[in-house]
């Protein structure tokens, strides 16, 4: 029996294993505790935060498509003030690094959130969402313009001393251009991909199915696209990557790591199997034993 080393590094962050919970699929960590021991994930990314509280989008907010789900939650969250008052203490109790996902409508919003979250050691790093398809007047607009990606990264770095992750949208022509802009702006880590902008139509009502018309597609349906983008970015960019998009099993996670991801995030899988993160970690271990791989780090980018 070989001793397995699952530790991985994301810039200055040390993770005990490479599997992270994706934002919006684990609440603030405690919501899952009945199903997933919060000490198990390599890190936890909490629900997207905006300066002001947001009630999110009208119902229906979710529908299923072949091997995928389409959501238009719309970043429902309690806002910065309430987050600091009630959620900070919750995440402070967690024993794994907690990443806070932030969203904004302007460059100043991102800078403001970064500055306000800077004093708290409970937060291990920021994941900057320049890619939410469900936020009117912001979100994805930033992630589709490389100049704006650069500026968001720059402004957040300017105001936040810890590691900064830029989460990229796949809804662009050239993902590498966006990744390079994030690096130029000072990003420490890149995460990709967010959901693909998509829709479904109810043929009985003859209307778009989601209350918000468009939503973000996630799940196994998008995995090949996500993998291709991680591979392209890893080929060109030197900073660490968190790969995500339809990871359901340990084998899926291994694919992303081979494509160049230093860690992976699991989202949709948790909505079906709340213990998915723990299962995926076990499946990664099984693969390592089978292939006699001692260190997960040795697999990063092996397919490049």
């Amino acid at each position: 029996m070989i001793e397995l080393d699952l530790t991985t590094r994301l810039a200055s962050l040390k993770l005990k294993n490479p599997v992270i919970t994706a934002s919006g699929t684990c609440g603030y960590g405690e919501e899952l505790k009945e199903y997933l021991d919060p000490d198990i994930p390599g890190a936890i990314t909490v629900k997207g935060l905006t300066i002001k509280p947001s009630v999110g989008n009208p119902a229906p907010r979710i529908t299923e498509t072949p091997a995928g789900i389409l959501n238009s939650i719309g970043l429902e969250n309690p806002g910065l003030e309430e987050f600091l008052a009630t959620k900070l203490s919750v995440i402070g109790k967690l024993n794994v690094p907690v990443l806070v996902n932030i969203s904004g409508h302007s460059l100043d919003d991102f800078a403001f959130l970064a500055e306000k979250l800077a004093p708290y050691p409970q937060i291990a790093g920021l994941e900057v969402n320049v890619s939410c398809p469900n936020l009117a007047g912001g979100g994805m607009a930033f992630g589709t313009d490389s100049e704006l990606v650069y500026r968001v990264a720059y402004r957040v770095k300017e105001n936040y001393p810890g590691p900064v992750i830029i989460k990229l949208t796949p809804n662009v022509t050239d993902i590498v251009e966006m990744a390079e802009a994030a690096v130029a702006g000072g990003a420490d880590i890149i995460s990709l991909i967010n959901t693909l902008l998509a829709m479904a139509i109810d043929i009985d009502d003859k209307r778009p199915l989601l209350g918000n018309t468009f939503g973000g597609l996630s799940g196994p349906a998008i995995k090949p696209v996500a993998l291709r983008m991680v591979y392209q970015v890893a080929s060109r960019v030197k900073i660490p990557i968190i790969g995500m998009g339809g990871i359901m099993t340990g084998r899926d996670a291994i694919e992303f790591i081979l494509a160049g991801a230093s860690a992976v995030a699991v989202g949709t899988a948790t909505l079906i199997d709340p213990g998915a993160v723990a299962r995926i970690i076990e499946e990664i271990k099984e693969y390592m034993i089978e292939k006699e791989i001692k260190r997960i780090k040795d697999l990063i980018g092996q397919a490049l």
Partner: protein, 259 residues
Amino acid sequence: MVIGLMVEVKSNQRVGNDYYLLKIRALELTDSIFPGQFVHLKIGRDNLSFDPLLRRPFSIHDLSDEKDIYLLYRVVGKGTRILTDYKTGDKLDLLGPLGQGFKLDFVSRKILIIGGGMGIAPLYFLAKRLAKQNLLKVLIGGKNKEEMEYFIARFRQADIEFAVATMDGSAGFQGTVVDLWQKDNTQPDYLFACGPEAMLREVQVIAQKKGIPGQVSLEERMACGIGVCLSCVHKTNKGNQRVCKEGPVFSLEEVVFDD
């Protein structure tokens, strides 16, 4: 903690034109189940089946004397269509019981239950529990006799006083179940309701006018069922609440229905 519990299908039969009745054995759960709660089933031969991908929520319809769980469902899409193929002895991946059920810690002697369509399914379980405390009337409504036949038989069998409304008049009163309530003029001092949102909205308006407190069970498209994804939220006077977590049962007064 009841994750990934594999439960056994005891039977899965068509009952009437529209409905299927699934009986499952999950003795680990039955003692903690309350009327109004639901279970979340992963449907598909492989537990990691990608199509359908999400679990499907089903309200608890009844418990058998042997503590088996009955779920009533209608074929509305891919998930429920595949569910009809399950045979006695097959296994299903179940998460539950989930959500807050009906609260029964109130003092009332004149309870009215109003159900529309599929919303009658959880109310049957509730009615059986309440019947033991007497003084109860149930009003149920649907499109036509075919849709209502199954429920009519069940309530009759359970010896629960009930009345039926159908839109086409093929069984009982012609009109909606809310029309029936108005005509019937039952004056409850507490009520429970579950059904289409349009029906619940009317029930709320009338109850407010008459000053009758109560509880409603809501339905929303759901993904995780455990409160993390915020897909199934519904407006209330306390802001958005999760149907899967704070609900599906809410007090009649707190729910905000859009026009």
